[in-house]
Symmetry: C2
Subunit: 228 residues, 2 copies
DNA sequence: GCAAAAGTGTTTATCGTACACCCATGC
DNA sequence: GCATGGGTGTACGATAAACACTTTTGC
């Protein structure tokens, strides 16, 4: 190894995940109690291993907790204040992910003590994890306003009223249902199914699914997706 | 130190900066030739020191090259593929910054071999620095479309035609000057000065400056800043 | 038949876009 | 007086926003 490398200080590199879910009513974050600080809620996290990329590591850690693969995962920010972890200097790369809460519930292992918390009612969090969650919420709002990522939080089949409730929850507001459905449908990203939702309302709402092909085509472009 | 920390592998943590400048005609990136690979152009970078935050380190490294402080600096992305640096595993946190090219030119030290390159005519770059630049350009376009950050690339006093040329360069297009100036002025972020630019055109264009107070107020909100 | 949620249409204001002419000045 | 870039106004179409009634069906 060259001298200029040898003189440098190495640091531990961690990954922490802000895992968002939607239970039909409010936007939630999955928190755990783990290792060092068993009394404090924290984000799910872990260490970077020698053979992994950052994204692979975040993905592995997410799988360890939820059993889920193929979930929406995006790098949020790297946090590296010298004293953020009081025991040893650690740089943490935070990722946020959007999961279908129903899938999670059926697959969870009992290894971790984990619980969903409303984003408007969070407990005190370990280290700078509170900052991470705040930033993740901001980023989610920023991104969902222009990219159709909300679907990632719903089941494959969903109704327009469910989608509206999700966006109401994300933005902590109430969108007009007529304008909302017009705008969403005008993207042509949704395919109407023959089936209706049963049991929730008397009339029943039609299910829709995402047109995956079109979705991938526009995933990177600006859509001005949301009213308001 | 607790056992769970001791078992972990530490890594070197680097910072790399995509430094954007505007020379009045085209958008440029500042590249250097440095240390290990003296034949290859690379981004300006350095190592994280024990007492610094990531942002402080990026700021210090930027100062070492340009002599500039108080420049626009934003974290771009953390890059950590296992083989991105073939000599030793390194996680690099990339920052992008917007500098006033005239300030830079007056302050540059001779320590580094540095050169501005048009973003449309870049040489081959070290490691994954090409990816970093690509992502930074994407982010700059994304951000400048909704936040008034373009000013960071111009002198304190600038004309509307200069500002339009900058946005033309960022988006590699040609905006309509009438719509452009209407939209920019409608934000009320610019203060018209009495002074006119001399020597460039016969008539001379009025100088403007940013209303710093208003600028800080809206720095975080969506402005739909740009035509097209 | 009534309560509860689903679904749909119209009007108005605002904004985006396309487009062309006059102005001020240096030479 | 003419060439060069600076500065402005208007008309049209598209999109956003506000707003209310009808439909379906389980009970």
């Amino acid at each position: 190894m060259l001298d200029q490398y040898k003189q440098q200080h190495p640091y531990l590199v961690a990954l922490d995940s802000i895992i968002f879910g939607f239970d039909g009513e409010s936007l939630k974050v999955l928190l755990v109690k783990r290792g060092v600080e068993e009394k404090t809620w924290s984000l799910m996290g872990g260490w970077l291993q020698p053979d992994e990329s950052l994204e692979q590591a975040a993905s592995r850690i997410l799988f360890d907790l939820t059993g889920l693969t193929n979930v929406y995962l995006e790098q949020l920010h790297a946090f590296g204040n010298p004293d953020r972890d009081p025991i040893v200097r650690t740089v943490s790369v935070a990722y946020f992910s959007l999961v279908k809460i129903a899938d999670y519930e059926s697959k969870i292992s009992g290894t971790f003590q984990a619980q969903w918390f409303s984003i408007y009612d969070l407990p005190p969090l370990l280290f700078d994890h509170g900052d991470m969650v705040d930033l993740a919420i901001k980023r989610l709002r920023y991104k969902a306003a222009q990219h159709p990522i909300g679907f990632e939080l719903l089941n494959e089949k969903f109704t327009i009223p469910q989608l509206k409730k999700l966006y109401d929850a994300i933005y902590n507001t109430e969108f007009d249902k007529r304008n909302f459905s017009r705008k969403i449908l005008s993207t042509n990203l949704l395919i109407k199914l023959a089936e209706k939702q049963k049991g929730f309302s008397k009339r029943g709402a039609f299910y829709y699914k995402v047109d995956t092909e079109k979705y991938h085509l526009v995933a990177d472009s600006f859509l001005n997706f949301i009213p308001g």
